[in-house]
């Protein structure tokens, strides 16, 4: 059995492209996603913006099949993953949540190495090496033996990022990861995500941080009412919005 050497967070070797085609999803009568198409090129960052209820977070969860779309397909590196084992897919796609969702009954290091040890069967020493290296990348190696509850929100979110990165994913999904943070902690997390993108990670970021979207994204996608209304480069979307809905949204948030 070959063991892959995990690439450090700033390596470009493992990132793939991500495509969504014709994603439809309804809860009973409520249509949440009404045909969404999205393409994220390898090594690029796409920010998804839009009002609440637009389906952004739901879309993100269809990309790693946490929620199964009723119609449509998701492709990783050009290959459809709809027939794959969903658990296997999610080992290749990392996700970070708004409320961190760290495991409170484990130490920070155990949080980061948990999936490595239990899913990938990596032996404890190697897993801890990987874990400590990831914690170092997020600047929290010193917090390894502590419980999440003794960390600030920003620190917890950085641990959550380390936990996702430890699995050496090809794509990273971020669901409003700074929305629950105190303002002074937001910058640290955004800077980390910027570094990650600069290192060549393919990422999809649902966010309200327009500054981040403008500065870091290669593509900005505006969603409303379960569809992609407009998309393009940050300059296109922020400076030359075409659709009235986007213009209205921008006038409210900028």
């Amino acid at each position: 059995m070959t063991t892959t050497v995990p690439a450090p967070a700033s390596s470009t070797t493992a990132s793939g492209s991500l495509t969504a085609r014709g994603i439809h999803l309804a809860y009973g009568d409520v249509k949440v996603l009404r045909g969404v198409d999205l393409h994220v090129a390898q090594g690029s960052a796409t920010c998804v913006i839009g009002p609440s209820g637009s389906g952004k977070s739901t879309l993100l969860r269809t990309l790693n099949r946490l929620i199964e779309p009723q119609q449509g397909e998701v492709l990783l590196d050009g290959r459809s993953v709809m027939a794959d084992d969903p658990d296997a897919l999610r080992r290749r796609v990392g996700m970070v949540f708004q409320h961190f969702n760290l495991f409170p009954h484990m130490t920070v290091l155990d949080n980061v190495t948990f999936a490595l040890r239990r899913l990938k069967r990596v032996p404890k020493d190697r897993a801890e090496d990987i874990g400590l290296r990831q914690l170092e990348h997020v600047g929290l190696r010193g917090k390894a033996p502590y419980r999440p509850s003794s960390l600030s929100g920003g620190q917890q979110q950085r641990v959550a990022i380390a936990r996702a990165l430890a699995m050496d994913p090809e794509v990273m999904l971020f669901d409003e990861v700074t929305s629950a943070l105190d303002p002074e902690l937001v910058k640290g997390v955004l800077r980390l995500m910027e570094d990650l993108s600069g290192g060549g990670m393919t990422m999809v970021v649902v966010t309200h941080e327009m500054g981040f979207a403008r500065h870091v994204a290669d593509q900005v996608v505006f969603m409303d009412g379960g569809v992609v209304v407009e998309s393009g480069t940050p300059d296109d979307v922020f400076d030359r919005p075409q659709s009235p809905r986007l213009q209205q949204f921008l006038s409210q948030v900028l």
């Binding site: 790693n64 946490l66 658990d87 296997a88 999610r90 080992r91 796609v93 990392g94 996700m95 949540f97 409320h99 961190f100 969702n101 760290l102 495991f103 409170p104 009954h105 948990f114 999936a115 239990r118 899913l119 170092e136 997020v138 600047g139 929290l140 190696r141 010193g142 917090k143 502590y146 419980r147 509850s149 003794s150 960390l151 600030s152 620190q155 950085r158 959550a160 936990r163 996702a164 699995m167 910058k187 640290g188 800077r191 980390l192 327009m210 500054g211 981040f212 403008r214 500065h215 300059d235 922020f238 900028l254």
Partner: protein, 265 residues
């Protein structure tokens, strides 16, 4: 004075108490603890299984679990014990070739206690934040493993006080198996006290039995309170600090300039 001395004579005859104590501790206490401990172990396993079934999205798993829990919490314990102990007697004799009511007693106690634990565990598991399951699945764990490794351990911790309370109930419940006609060396605390009382016409043995039960239940009650307090206050958790946070030492001057919203860097 007469009333008091007769009371003392009937309930606090130290001589009788001294006579019954060896059997009560050597046989009764041992059996009470054995019945309770074995039943507790099986009940925990069954309780977790029933709790997870009761939370399943599939009706075929959910309904049997709910019915089971309703039945065994809804009938008097003595009735359940008698139904199982006497009603299943032929099953024990013909299938397992044993006429001892002991296993049936343990079975009855287990069935009853697992129903109560199932409810306790279910509420504990449900109280765990849904984000824990989401994060586990996002890492690649399936529903089952996420439950087993992440959700259930947290859920059970939360209901530890209620669980220990149930074990206290179980110890008292074990006294009801006397009804099954246990052999002399199988008798638990209550039965021994009762036999001695009818033999001597004096109820002091019952007082001794009460003290025996208290000797077990009172420390357990204190244990529950201690656990509860520990869980409530938590181990002294340090406030979030910048120690060990390598990115916190960045001064505003060295941080990348904050990008004004809307402007191009």
């Amino acid at each position: 004075m007469d009333v008091l001395s007769r009371l003392v004579q009937n309930l606090l005859d130290l001589d009788y108490i001294a006579q019954v104590l060896p059997t009560m501790l050597g046989v009764g206490l041992v059996n009470t603890l054995y019945l309770s401990a074995v039943s507790a172990l099986f009940s925990i396993a069954a309780g977790v299984l029933l709790a997870v079934m009761g939370l399943s999205r599939r009706r075929i798993l959910r309904w049997p679990a709910r019915v089971y829990v309703d039945v065994f919490r809804g009938i008097p314990a003595i009735l359940a014990i008698v139904i199982i102990g006497q009603g299943l007697f032929w099953l024990a004799r013909d299938v397992f070739s044993t006429t001892s009511p002991y296993p049936l007693g343990i079975l009855a106690l287990t069935l009853i206690t697992s129903a109560y634990l199932a409810e306790i565990f279910r509420s504990g598991i449900q109280s765990v934040d849904k984000g824990q399951m989401e994060a586990s699945r996002a890492l690649g764990f399936g529903y089952g493993r996420a439950m087993l490794l992440v959700v259930i351990p947290q859920g059970l911790r939360r209901v530890l006080p209620a669980t220990v309370n149930q074990f206290i109930q179980l110890i008292k419940l074990s006294s009801l198996v006397f009804y099954l006609g246990l052999q002399a060396d199988q008798r638990e605390i209550f039965r021994i006290a009762q036999d001695f009382a009818s033999m001597t016409g004096n109820q002091s043995s019952l007082i001794a039995a009460a003290v025996c039960y208290l000797a077990i239940t009172v420390p357990l009650t204190h244990l529950v309170n201690w656990i509860d307090r520990r869980l409530r206050d938590g181990r002294r958790v340090a406030a979030p600090t910048d120690d060990g946070d390598d990115l916190a030492t960045t001064t505003p001057a060295t941080a990348p300039a904050a990008t004004p919203i809307g402007a191009r860097a």
